[in-house]
């Protein structure tokens, strides 16, 4: 059965989206607190779980605070924290992965064994153990999540790099006596940017899922900081009334993760 022309046109547009989608969320994260009409912690209404109105565009939350303002700030924390996590995890993963492929031998074995060990623990579990040990401050969350997602990035990049390090131009650079850093950044990495970018996008989605799950369980970001997971958690009672206070953050997470995953899916489909 064929897809309608309308649908096909949409499908062909999607591959260009992943990069601009991430850019959009980052911009929203940075501008969010500026755009917020109220202070996120301020109680501005005597009605709790108020519906959508002209004064409060997304109603009020369980304490009578403005949901739109809190949502803008919460989206900011989720996106920025997960972006920081992704950057750390993928910088480490990409660099170590290429180094392992380049050096082979003992370096490769030691790195790979360590990464396999980390990956054999489910991510939510590692995060819970880390929070139990070090508390749930922002640096702990970012560092723990970076460590959790580095092995996945490492594995992908090592596999990708293995076929590149045997090529003539890499051998030539090694013969010239170039430093490892130069070879990694200038010779190997530029030849695998496409798949690496797809992998980075995937790690970002995983980080959003993990952070939201942790915050929803109450062991992620602690008040007064909020993110999309903790916003959903604190307003869960509003579900009974169908309040926008709980629907808005939940929907934002869904749009963020599903949208990016759809975009990546067709991007990979096109690349592969």
């Amino acid at each position: 059965m064929t897809v309608a022309p309308f649908a096909r046109r949409w499908v062909s547009v999607i591959p260009r989206i992943p990069g601009s989608l991430i850019l959009f969320w980052l911009l929203l994260a940075l501008l969010g607190p500026v755009l917020a009409p109220f202070a996120p912690g301020e109680v501005v209404s005597r009605t709790v779980f108020a519906p959508i109105s002209a004064h409060h565009l997304l109603g009020t939350d369980y304490l009578g605070r403005d949901v739109l303002s809190r949502l803008l700030c919460g989206t900011g924390s989720t996106v920025l924290l997960c972006a920081a996590t992704t950057v750390l995890a993928c910088t480490g993963g990409v660099f170590l992965g290429i180094i392992a492929a380049l050096k082979q031998g003992l370096t490769d074995t030691l790195l790979s064994r360590f990464m396999d060990g980390v990956i054999s623990i489910p991510s939510l579990l590692s995060a819970l153990v880390a929070v139990a040990a070090f508390g749930s401050s922002v640096p702990v969350l970012v560092l723990a999540m970076s460590l959790i997602y580095m092995p996945g990035s490492y594995r992908t990049c090592r596999m990708l790099a293995l076929s590149i390090v045997r090529r003539d131009f890499v051998l030539a650079a090694q013969m010239r006596g170039e430093k490892s850093g130069y070879i990694v950044l200038r010779e190997v990495l530029p030849n695998m940017t496409g798949p690496v970018m797809a992998d980075v996008g995937l790690r970002f989605i995983y980080a959003v899922r993990l952070l939201s799950n942790l915050s929803f369980l109450g062991v992620g970001l602690q008040p007064p900081l909020t993110d999309l997971g903790s916003l959903t958690r604190e307003n869960l009672l509003g579900l009974v009334y169908g309040a926008p206070a709980v629907i808005a953050p939940a929907l934002t997470i869904a749009v963020l993760t599903v949208g990016l995953n759809l975009a990546l899916d067709s991007y990979k489909g096109k690349a592969g």
């Binding site: 059965m1 060990g117 054999s120 623990i121 489910p122 579990l125 997971g229 990016l260």
Partner: protein
Amino acid sequence: MTMNAALIRALLRLVGASLVSLVFVTVAVFFITAVLPGDVADALLGQAATPDAVSALRHSLNLDKPVLVRFVIWVTGLLHGDFGVSLVSHRPVLAMASERLIHSLLLAGVTALFAVPVALLLGTTAAIFRNTLFDRAVSLLTLCIVSVPEFLVATLAVFIFSVQLHLLPALASISDIHSIGSFLASFSMPVTTLACVIVGQMSRMTRAVMIDALGSSWVEMAVLKGASPAHIILRHVIPNVIAPLFNVIALSLSYLLGGVVIVESVFHYPGIASLMVDSVAARDIPLVQICALIFCAAYLFLTTLADIVALLSSQRRHAA
């Protein structure tokens, strides 16, 4: 004969690798949770943290000894079945964890009973009717489920099923037929939610396996011979996908663990996962350690099982 020896060697290597992973996990769990001892004693005592009280507590928890000595004490205890006592309730953590573990296994088992057939059916039908509207709808829906955090599925399930519960008398009549209505009532929401998460992941993998099988040369040959679709599915497809499907099932059940943590917390289900989340919030380290070990052991068991099935199936294909 040499083939069998090679197979046994490969199997032993798999089991050995997973045992090494278990040791790695044990060491990692201990050192992550035990490297910062000071603030555990401080955190436990809170306001009552006078220097004397802190040093007494540190002494009773062996926190004044070097880390390596504590590790040896801890591992010796583990080997003798002594996992320590909870810092909060002062009960042995092994007893606390094992009574909760039974509840979790029950939840996981009932969920698997529902989710596995549904996921296999959904994935297979999507593969047979590939690229139809049905397939696209299933793909989109399952992609949504695997993209969002598990708690969102739980929240949505509460929204839909608790609102629509009285709109769907079928659900009520099912619990009437079984005389164990109260059992079903307390179970239905956690099981439904968890099943949604598992079906999402599993049906996607099933679809990939089935598409692979349907595109194979022997199926093509059977189509050319003019065999009926039912004959092709029963005689040519199913025998060839049993092994990879077992692999899919084992892998999906290991995803069940992540979902269990969320679902037990959302529905206040008294399983081992909610025990772990509570112990993390209270920073009850011995309890965190045993819960983490049990989870990792279960996860390693399932992934190793998946690897073994994959190995055996590849052997069978070589033999054929």
